[in-house]
């Protein structure tokens, strides 16, 4: 029997961050983003997720766990959960499952579960996933959590079901950082926000009348680097999400931009213009503060990003005329090689988690679109269909890319599977949202 105990770590960051968010801005109390599937796989897997039973004080648990799981899986575009009214039985225990009930409904998979209260703020969620065709249990888990983390727990359950059925790790429990801009009394207001991958639980981590841009996650998911123009000059900051404390790591004269953590979290690649007007890629050792200049070229060299092995930095340069992607080893004196050749505009590369693909902004007949490029062959495949698409970011499972696009003139987020089959629009409830960056698996 596949029943395991999954340890969920302390989540006091959540309380701290929520308090911070409440302090900063009360208008983000509910989700700022809303997901809608534009295109799904041709044959999503038919499945049934039976509402979980509840044993505890009160009529209902603090969160409807099975509803969140259903929304996650339906929203992924790969599954087709049947409506509750079509369920001929409502099993919540494995021994209550009659496979024939579900074979008649033509579902391939069945999820059942129960939520029990173990203490004043302690809950256990148990679920099982069955393969209806084979009539067998696929996975079953028991998760224990305080009430505030039931939503994260539900996303973890979605991750496990998704992986068991598709072979791809789920990313429902990961987070996304993005920038929102709202105009208030004719003034721009910039906010850096961290939310669950489904747009829920948005937390404002920085709020400024001056531009905020280029958020970048640390590999452990505990910190964000970003650019702020407070004081009417650009500077790069690194902020610890849990405490809100931050360090200004670069405020040199000229441009301070495009921060990117190395895979081990010890270095920060960034763009500086130490020769006036000449942007070049630099690497800052965050421990020793030693700064190494990687490129020396009168062109614009910017938007560095690390390959997962830490041995290569990809970046944008217009040294050949228009912007194209180049690669360079992160050592002083290394030579850069051009990577993209298809089209006159390829910029802001991001490397897939397996290092095999680059997502870029690619100009195609006057439209700026998201494309994936094989850095070995230069083969380019356009994935998006907007006119002003930008800022692609891979999900940590490598199966999805989130990016910024426009809808009726407003900045919204969208995601596309790297095979191009599934497209989701993640609309902003208010204002413009942009520069989405998918966080790592680790949730501190």
């Amino acid at each position: 029997m596949l029943r395991q105990r999954l340890i969920i770590g302390p989540r006091s960051w959540l309380a701290a961050a929520l308090a911070l968010a409440a302090m900063l801005n009360a208008t983000l109390a509910q989700a700022q983003l809303r997901i809608e599937i534009r295109r799904g796989v041709e044959r999503p897997i038919p499945m049934a997720i039976v509402p979980f039973s509840w044993e505890g004080t009160g009529a209902q648990p603090p969160l409807n766990v099975s509803a969140v799981v259903t929304a996650d899986l339906a929203g992924s575009g790969r599954f087709d959960p049947i409506p509750e009214r079509d369920m001929v039985a409502r099993p919540t225990q494995p021994e209550q499952v009659d496979f024939q009930d579900w074979q008649i409904l033509d579902v391939d998979a069945l999820v059942i579960g129960r939520v029990t209260q173990d203490g004043p703020d302690r809950y256990t969620v148990i679920f099982q996933l069955f393969d209806i065709l084979r009539g067998e249990l696929l996975v079953g888990y028991r998760l224990t959590t305080p009430g505030a983390d039931l939503r994260v727990t539900a996303h973890r359950i979605s991750d496990m079901i998704y992986e068991a059925l598709t072979g791809i790790p789920g990313v429902f429990s990961t987070r996304v950082a993005y920038v929102s801009e709202q105009r208030e009394n004719g003034q721009q207001r910039f906010r850096l926000i961290v939310a669950d991958a489904d747009g829920e639980s948005p937390q404002v981590v920085a709020d400024s009348p001056d531009p905020l841009m280029s958020p970048a996650w640390s590999p452990d998911g505990r910190r964000l680097a970003y650019v702020s123009f407070e004081g009417q000059q650009s500077a790069v900051y690194i902020q610890t999400l849990r405490s809100g404390a931050r360090d200004r790591v670069s405020a040199r004269e000229g441009v301070n931009g495009a921060p990117a953590f190395s895979p081990d979290g010890r270095m920060l690649a960034l763009t500086l213009s130490r020769d006036p007007g000449n942007l070049d890629i630099h690497v800052l050792d965050l421990t020793t503060q030693v700064l190494v200049r990687l490129t020396r070229n009168p062109a614009i060299d910017t938007e560095p990003t690390w390959a997962p092995d830490g041995q290569t930095i990809f970046f944008t340069s217009d040294r050949s005329g228009g912007p194209q992607v180049y690669r360079i080893a992160p050592q002083a004196g290394a030579d850069a090689q051009r990577v993209t050749f298809e089209g006159a505009y390829n910029a802001r590369p991001r490397v897939s988690p397996d290092g095999r693909q680059l997502a870029v902004v690619h100009r195609n007949a006057g439209n700026y679109r998201i494309a994936v490029v094989d850095p070995r062959t230069g083969l380019t495949q356009v994935l998006s269909n907007g006119a002003l698409d930008e800022s692609p970011s891979f999900a940590p499972n490598g199966a999805l890319i989130i990016y910024a696009t426009r809808d009726a003139g407003r900045g919204v987020l969208s995601s596309v599977s790297t095979d191009g089959r599934i497209q989701q629009r993640i609309g902003a409830v208010a204002g413009d949202v942009r520069e989405p960056v998918w966080g790592p698996y680790a949730r501190p």
Partner: protein, 182 residues
């Protein structure tokens, strides 16, 4: 040199720049964002307020504001993906360079901007390149390096909202922002 000194509030209204940012020098709004080493240390910050909303109202004054001479022109526009100065701005840049040369105490910030197309950090590069092109022209006209600072906002501070050629043309620009006169 004939010049009118007007509060920039009036100048901004007259020039239709109301979307380009406030007249009051702004300090970081740090409230609650967090505290840590280096925060708000303000290196290179040009502000004289004390932060938040309690600071003094600081007005910048502009030479030639309200007039029609070359000194009244405070925005230089650029072609798509270009940082070359169009010949039509020769007179404007000569006038500002001459003003700075004759008024050693005057300080000018050059704010470079790009239109919204393409990636954001690359556009920071384009805005910086444009600001530097204007800086070099002013230095050639007699301005001193110490009088000039540059900042690139890329596409983050558009003058015109909208996704058409007209808005793009208005957004590819360098704004000349006098911080101190005489």
């Amino acid at each position: 040199m004939p010049r009118q000194l007007l509060f920039v509030l009036a100048a901004i209204a007259a020039l239709g720049l109301s979307a380009c940012g406030g007249n009051r020098a702004t300090l970081p709004d740090d409230g609650g964002v967090g505290s840590g080493a280096g925060m708000g240390a303000g290196s290179g910050a040009v502000t004289s307020g004390t932060g938040g909303s309690g600071g003094p109202e600081v007005f910048r004054e502009v030479p030639g504001a309200g007039g029609s001479g070359p000194l009244s022109r405070l925005i230089i526009y650029f072609d798509f993906d270009q940082a070359d100065l169009r010949p039509e701005y020769n007179e404007v840049l000569a006038a500002h360079g001459g003003y700075l040369a004759a008024n050693g105490g005057a300080l000018l910030r050059l704010e470079g901007h790009a239109d919204e197309r393409g990636s954001r950090e690359y556009n920071i590069g384009l805005g910086e390149r444009r600001a530097q092109a204007v800086r070099r022209a002013l230095l050639l006209q007699g301005a001193a390096a110490a009088q000039l600072t540059t900042v690139s906002y890329g596409e983050e501070r558009p003058a015109a909202f909208g996704s058409d050629e007209e808005a793009y043309g208005l957004n590819r620009r360098v704004e000349l922002v006098y911080r101190q006169l005489n």
